[in-house]
Subunit: 69 residues, 12 copies
Amino acid sequence: MPAHSYKHIEVTGSSTVGIDDAISTAVAKAGKTLHGLHWFEVVDTRGYIEGSKVKHWQVTVKIGFRLED
Amino acid sequence: MPAHSYKHIEVTGSSTVGIDDAISTAVAKAGKTLHGLHWFEVVDTRGYIEGSKVKHWQVTVKIGFRLED
Amino acid sequence: MPAHSYKHIEVTGSSTVGIDDAISTAVAKAGKTLHGLHWFEVVDTRGYIEGSKVKHWQVTVKIGFRLED
Amino acid sequence: MPAHSYKHIEVTGSSTVGIDDAISTAVAKAGKTLHGLHWFEVVDTRGYIEGSKVKHWQVTVKIGFRLED
Amino acid sequence: MPAHSYKHIEVTGSSTVGIDDAISTAVAKAGKTLHGLHWFEVVDTRGYIEGSKVKHWQVTVKIGFRLED
Amino acid sequence: MPAHSYKHIEVTGSSTVGIDDAISTAVAKAGKTLHGLHWFEVVDTRGYIEGSKVKHWQVTVKIGFRLED
Amino acid sequence: MPAHSYKHIEVTGSSTVGIDDAISTAVAKAGKTLHGLHWFEVVDTRGYIEGSKVKHWQVTVKIGFRLED
Amino acid sequence: MPAHSYKHIEVTGSSTVGIDDAISTAVAKAGKTLHGLHWFEVVDTRGYIEGSKVKHWQVTVKIGFRLED
Amino acid sequence: MPAHSYKHIEVTGSSTVGIDDAISTAVAKAGKTLHGLHWFEVVDTRGYIEGSKVKHWQVTVKIGFRLED
Amino acid sequence: MPAHSYKHIEVTGSSTVGIDDAISTAVAKAGKTLHGLHWFEVVDTRGYIEGSKVKHWQVTVKIGFRLED
Amino acid sequence: MPAHSYKHIEVTGSSTVGIDDAISTAVAKAGKTLHGLHWFEVVDTRGYIEGSKVKHWQVTVKIGFRLED
Amino acid sequence: MPAHSYKHIEVTGSSTVGIDDAISTAVAKAGKTLHGLHWFEVVDTRGYIEGSKVKHWQVTVKIGFRLED
């Protein structure tokens, strides 16, 4: 991270595909209303089960975005 | 949680009654400006003391609310 | 705890009343199939929200029960 | 907390009523020998079980009290 | 999670394919002897190495299943 | 903290001077768009290195601000 | 751990001798009803005191055992 | 623990013999000035090295003692 | 630490200058009533804000002091 | 792990593909200068974002390798 | 951090001046034998006390340095 | 620790005897290639089981050694 200021938000993304896709979903969702998204960090990896199979994955990420100078 | 995306916020609610009421206060406060509140998780339970009695309770909760699809 | 051996299980109890009641529910549920329940410890306090009010409380407890000598 | 110095102690209070009452008991106990109790923070929530019911609740709190200037 | 009671177990699944597959293996294994599996949460992600390559992945998940009412 | 409700945000501030200055920067940044900032808590202290010297410091703080009654 | 699936349980063993012996007690207890115990990990080391001496040691271990293929 | 109130202190004991002995030393030291010591919990296990051998062991324990009713 | 026994206390010091000064204040406060202070460890770094500026810093330290042999 | 001694190192691997690939990169990098790599454990999963998409994934693993007897 | 691989080491630096200076010392020490130091993260802040004053500060940092491609 | 700089490494030692011996093994192993070992701290205590008995103990320690001035 260069010498700027950042604000962090926490978002949960869902996917029927897997962990990587759930993270990409969370990042894309956050990008709809915020500019300057810079990094993410995985906080929690969960999912829901149906008939002994993973039905959907839910990954919570902390996302940092740059504040205007 | 169904297969949607969620954003999380952290709020502290106060009460002179007890822990459960402080949580309800935090949830009600958050509901004044946000729609689609879905779940909460207790982060921290504190309080202030006066004359060796609990004067008010302060509970911090993480609240998740659904993002529009 | 006296000098015995114990096994621990983790159970989530629900209640529309509050945190104390959700714990009592979890303990009662565990007591239906296990004997010798001895202590509990709160692991996690969560809940679900509807219309900016707490709809039900969900508390996860670790419960220890004594193993036969 | 205003700009003073504080010392912290850790106390466990018991109650047959519930969590809030166990905390009040811990605070009252600490207030018998210390002045200037200012705040508490819940460290651990446990309890003992008898006949699949919670027999008594035990909550450990960290309590801060003001040091003389 | 709806207003039911849940028990949690902890299972480690292995896979030569990757993290997602090791989780699915753990869930499938647990489903052989338990009904009503509802959710999982990743506790630990490890693996074994041979010749500087990941030989197999081992993911430990906590799985919650619904207790009969 | 008096008996109000608070919301928390997480902000990273940067400084070429040191840790205290990076915290002040984070607080000042947050104050540009939010009123009623009340307290902060350090979450993480990091920094970037160039030529075996600390080039800039980056401190992440959680900041609480009062919600309107 | 080879490429199998494992389930984990948590057991507390007691001993008047010391920590190592309390762990061996916990493992022996678990082995009375479960086969294929593979590894343990210390979760918590506690004990009870009488007359300013350790009366008995209580160590909680997480134990992994292999699930049938 | 029966339904009393307890205060906790944290003490580090040293030993040239091993971990169990360092804990017994800590408990004995605390017992010189406090009555009613009831339980301990290991917080931290460290030691000092000289000539690639452990010279002495240092274990920090939290000790609970009963408060007068 | 040489092979002695130590007791730990937790103290919060305040300062309008910065983090280092708040720690020195906590240590000086503890030294008014205790002898043989040996080391400290930072537990928590917080502060209060007024008008988007840090008004005073509050650092909580754990302090170890030597028990008489 | 068989009865040998192991040393641990911590390495961050990057990938534009996903989490599994970033771990494989970290392991391969470590294998260039060290022999006897035996296991890994994920410490931290992060990534960088560009245009609301994950640009590259960065996973930090702790890797254990066997020390010569 | 750009898309490279990094190794982490942990170093404690000392200073009679303060926390910032102890970190700079740790970084400078690490830079004597390693090239490509990129970032640090504070792990632990401690110090030694003499006559109720901080005699020297000791800060432990995790330092990341770039591995050759 | 006197006012020097230290580097930390993490090593796992094994023993068929017990925890103390596994730590001594880890320290002795580290001393074969490094000088100036100063202290250790237990990170993790595990072991392997065969026939419901502890077959060997594995303790992971962080070891600090002094860097040349």
